[in-house]
């Protein structure tokens, strides 16, 4: 054990069964926090899309249970008070990414932090954050595409006490809510988040009642320690020492004509320490796709990947932080400097996951995952209806989950856990629009022994004049295939005006006016394929053609499967076709990035697309 190992490492004076009980109670509490927020929040984004993130930390602010890591020390550092100023019943609130080192990475995410006291002593913290519908700024939903600074992205609360000693500061909340377009939503959702943190406080109190405060605190240390031990085993088993592995991929653009934007990651191991270095990543960009990546959160992502790939039963927490060394170059798109705009960090966040997956796919023998649909596409439709009522709809959409070691990717599913689509019937009941289609985009997932998930198409007809703002990505670059699997198809957006004229739109637009009767066709990208498509079982290909998830053409050209008129596999013709393809195609690449133009051409294409769109204005 290294001399500078964290203080929780060592012998723990706690009965192992008690420890297991504390751990499982905290795990259940995390789920309970989510349930409380989901049921009491008002925003569809929180309640239907489960966009909230609980954690329980120890008295040092280290996350014992949760999945996004904590930045509690930074938050308190940036607040006007010290740890010693915290009191029972306080709740700290902030939505300023720059005040919490990116623990929340754009302004609509409101983070609440509650110190937990027992018999007068600080025994830990609970924290919960969620995506509010609106925090003001230049566009409804507060995620402008074209903003140069964070000042255009709404009101920011620095870390301040929203509750002081159990007393709720109504004036503070009112001041905040007053600056948003949907003040009642903001108030209800923030209260729901606070209720979530209170749930954790109650459960921690119960654990202290049951086992004693000292045992509880010792238990937290031991939970951190045993996760660290488990992670050391995983690292030794799966991360080879010595060699350096790198991977590069691009986010299309920043919504202002700048792109492609490169992410570059290098991973290597020395002893027990795994180094993850983002040097070589592009500088921050003028638009809003900058992603203030919290270092601890990235360590968490890395650990969670290893755990989910190889030992899904291991608890993840801050215990393994000292085993990862992360380099995030200052001023890069993954560590932008204040006051860079951050509203649309989702493409960068998603790509960061793709790059991490790809680097591990290179580094770990026999384990590969392809590239994903590349962001959490979202759409805002806002305006004032004929009766004079304001409306504002925010929706997250989904695309193709990459092919996985265990099988095909999923069509139109969420790479981010626990999200759900908002029902079309909810949208039609509460907003002036109809949903004319919500369907799978056949063939858009990359072919492969395991195919990538397909993207989706959703068609909206607007019933009132208003404006739409949306962001998506993977319109210029392709979700890559791996180990012989093919790349997926790109995303597309089209506006069909009432007179029948069609406008192709870039993947990121802001406040595009729409009139009643206009239709939006929103199509998301697929996920990449894994393994040689010619190794896919012909019967499986035939079934997918019958289901309308694949075309006969794709069956023939990509999978080499020839179907008879009744839809069944023609075995002889299939064998010949597969032999032909094998003969004429080149060697299969480890990664298939799709037919990407040269870097300079791609850069010019992206700039031209934006110029053309701005000119149409």
């Amino acid at each position: 054990m290294s001399a500078d190992a964290p203080d929780f490492v060592g012998e723990h004076d706690i009965d192992p069964t008690t420890l297991d009980i504390i751990e499982s109670t905290l795990a259940n509490t995390r789920d309970e926090m989510d349930r409380v927020v989901e049921t009491t929040a008002i925003s569809p984004v929180i309640r239907e899309q489960s966009d909230q993130f609980p954690l329980i930390a120890d008295a040092e602010g280290r996350m014992v249970m949760g999945q996004f890591g904590s930045a509690i020390d930074t938050i308190i550092e940036n607040s006007p008070f010290e740890v010693s100023d915290l009191e029972d019943g306080d709740v700290i609130a902030t939505n300023d990414p720059y005040m919490c080192a990116g623990a929340v990475s754009h302004t609509p995410d409101m983070l609440l932090l509650r110190p937990i006291f027992y018999e007068g002593d600080l025994v830990g913290y609970s924290s919960q954050w969620g995506n509010l519908m609106d925090v003001g700024g230049k566009t409804p939903g507060s995620m402008p595409v074209q903003a140069a600074t964070v000042f255009e992205e709404g009101i920011r609360l620095p870390p301040v006490k929203l509750y002081k000693g159990g007393e709720f500061d109504g004036e503070l909340l009112q001041t905040f809510a007053h600056n948003t377009r949907l003040p009642e939503h903001a108030e209800a959702d923030i209260k729901a988040l606070a209720a979530g943190t209170r749930t954790a406080e109650e459960r921690v109190h119960e654990l202290c009642d049951r086992f004693g405060k000292e045992t509880y605190v010792e238990g937290c240390d031991a939970i951190l320690d045993r996760t660290r031990d488990g992670m050391i085993d995983l690292i030794h088993e799966f991360v080879p020492e010595g060699e350096r592995y790198t991977f590069e991929d691009y986010v299309d653009d920043d919504g202002m004509g700048n792109g492609p934007i490169k992410l570059h990651l290098e991973i290597y191991r020395e002893g027990e320490t795994v180094y993850l270095d983002w040097t070589g990543t592009d500088d921050q960009v003028p638009g809003t796709v900058n992603f203030l990546l919290n270092e601890k959160m990235f360590k968490m992502f890395t650990g969670v990947f290893l755990i989910m790939a190889f030992d899904p039963l291991l608890t993840f927490n801050d215990g393994y932080y000292d085993l990862f060394e992360v380099t995030l170059p200052e001023g890069s798109v993954v560590q932008p400097e204040f006051p860079a705009a951050l509203g649309n960090r989702l493409p960068m966040m998603a790509r960061q996951f793709d790059v991490l997956q790809a680097t591990f796919s290179k580094l770990i023998d026999g384990f590969s995952v392809a590239g994903s649909y590349g962001t959490s596409p979202n759409l805002v439709y806002a305006g004032t209806d004929s009766d004079g009522n304001d409306f504002q709809m925010l929706e997250i959409l989904y695309g193709g989950i990459p092919a996985r070691p265990g099988g095909d990717g999923l069509d139109g599913h969420s790479w981010w856990p626990l999200f759900r689509t908002v029902p079309a019937e909810y949208q039609e009941a509460y907003y002036p629009l109809t949903i004319d289609e919500y369907s799978t985009r056949a063939d858009t997932g990359g072919a492969g022994k395991h195919r990538g998930g397909h993207g989706i198409t959703k068609v909206y007809t607007f019933e009132e004049d208003g404006a739409i703002t949306f962001q998506d990505d993977r319109a210029h670059t392709y979700p890559w295939g791996v180990d012989g699997g093919s790349h997926a198809r790109t995303s597309e957006k089209k506006l069909i005006r009432t007179d029948g004229t069609e406008e192709e739109l870039p993947s990121k637009v802001e406040n595009v006016p729409v009139a009643a009767g206009d239709r939006l066709v929103f199509s998301t990208a697929g996920g990449g394929g894994l393994g040689d498509p010619l190794e896919r079982a012909p019967g499986q290909v035939a079934t997918e053609v019958a289901r309308g998830l694949s075309t006969e053409e794709a069956a023939r050209e990509e999978y080499g499967v020839i179907l008879d008129d009744d839809g069944s596999v023609n075995a002889d013709a299939t064998e010949r076709q597969r032999a032909d393809i094998r003969e004429t195609r080149g060697d299969l690449a480890e990664f298939d990035y799709g037919p990407l133009p040269d870097y300079d051409d791609l850069e010019a294409e992206i700039a031209a697309e934006r110029r053309e769109f701005d000119r149409r204005g």
Binding site: K191, I401, R420, E428
Partner: protein, 687 residues
Amino acid sequence: MSYNLGVDVGGTFTDVLVFDEDTHELTIDKVLSTPANPSEGVLRGIEEATEKAGTSVGELDLLFHGTTVVTNMLLEETGSRVGLITTEGHEDVLHLARAWTPGPLYGWMDMDKPDPLADLVDTRGVPGTISSPEGEETEPLDEAAVREAVRDLQTSGVEAVTVALLNSYLNSAHEKRVREIVAAEAPELPVSISSEIVPEYGEYERTLTTAINDYARPQVIRYLDDLDDSLEDAGSTAKMNVVRSDGGLMSSEAARNRPVELALSGPSGGVVGAATIANEKGVPDVLTLDMGGTSTDVSLVEDGTPGTTRQTKVGYREFKSRSVDVNTVGAGGGSIARVQLSGALQVGPESSGADPGPACYGQGGEEPTVTDANVVLGRIPEMVQLGGRMDLDHAAARAAIEGIAEQRGTSVEEAAQAILDIVNENMYGALRVVSVERGYDPREFGLVAFGGAGPMHANALADVTGAYPLIIPPGPGVMSAFGFLTSDVQNEFSETYLQTDLDVDGAAVHGELESLREEAAAWLESEGVGPSAHEFEYFADCRYFRQDIQMSIPIDVDNLVDGRGLAEIKDDFEARHDRQFGFSLDAPLEIANLRVIGKGSLEGVTIEEHALGDVDPSGAEVGTNEVYFDGSYVETPIYDRTELRPGNEVTGPAIVVEDDSTIVVQPDHTATVDRYANIEVTRGESA
């Protein structure tokens, strides 16, 4: 002479209870289930049990029948081929499944997503639209397209048809028309329409629920037809009642139309039975614990009434059907213990099943299970033959637990105790979900334990939850069948309302409820319940405007018009919201749904009351055993439950054995046989 009979068809065993209406005597019988042809086992059970009770099938008056047939069909994916007719453009509704992937981050990597119950190959979209929220037709139904779709599906071999169109919860005209066309074109195919199965918003859940109905329907129809025929052949004239997931009863005709309502038919019986017994005993607020071989169902009963939920979950699928609110956790006698990479001990959800079963069954099982831990610690005495059928292999149990002891570096006893502590903790977690999480303090509740393994673990759970008294009813292994006998004829009628207290008043709500009540009354009549026996309960599912919560608030209809109207409902809602979540809002009240439950009671069984006798239990003592409690072995007396008499008091530690289960009474506890023949366990010396 007349008899009533309750029959609970499980995956492995079919339990039968016969109640003699004259002598009030109960006869228990258990036969093997016959999953390949379920009606066969049921008939055999009925014949065997009636014979045992000294009567015959012809003497039966009322039949109460619950079954896991639908549950197993869903879990094992053995239902029928379903065709789906939906709105054009929305054909992928089941395939896209609301995009949900499990947590945590990267949960998608391991997600195992089953195919939709209606395959895309068997799904057809048809043109025709209904506007929202007005519910007006904006594009007529394309009947030619419907006809073509039906013929197409018929030729391709579907066995049932689901019709689920967008916005049909607002206007069901199109769905009804599609049903007429199916009936005309393919009269042999059962067809369900979503606006009748779940008249509520949410296209995915409504479509899924309706598809489940049709997935189960052809087999349920066949099964009930067979059962009716064979009962008739056996000379039965009894009225058949089928137990629904919410613990109510419906006719076998109604069950043929709505098999989705049977998804949790089995577990509901136990809860209803437990509620009845506890209520009769004067303990109306109880938690229930039903621990079997692979899983445990827990629930909360308040004021004698089991809680119900609208969200029912079976495996991956979560759908909208009213059921007794049971929380299921993978903790049972067969749950397997493992040591994780981090050193943490995990028990379940994997189970050794019935075959090979725990190591102590001596059928070749080697994995350490909860039952093996109980055997090692002496909690299952030598004289007990599990299920009355097999001898215990102590050596095999000990060998299985030794593996865990080695990995944990403890003694075998400590390892066995740790397994029990962890499995108890898992059940405690489940009990917390139904109590603490919903704002109830378990210390204000009693605990009713049943199921094969429940009585063995119940005392430990009463201890940790503080839920006393612990009540172990007679025949804990056949509690569901008993519960069926206590059930009422019951059905729920609901509609989506989506109005706020700014837009409607009490009179408007009263009008809506009245029309639902009329529907309920008509249904009760059709189930053979006369108007004098009708009872109605009224509920509004409330939330703050646009919240997702749906708190069911009971309504006193008389106060809607003359009393405080909606204000009374709002106050009740806010009080509950505050109790559960700790805050309320200055926002309008939204009534999402209105519901009326129509009930008619049947007298299936009467609970016998006995005089209390002597406290001395020594007449029932059959030996002693070394049992491990709190770190050491204690010589512990063993009692035979069949010899214990009302009034007898047993001081813990003690083991009480009976045919289908074993009761562990912990040290510092007292077990008393009450006047209803329940065993009641309390903390400390006798009360």
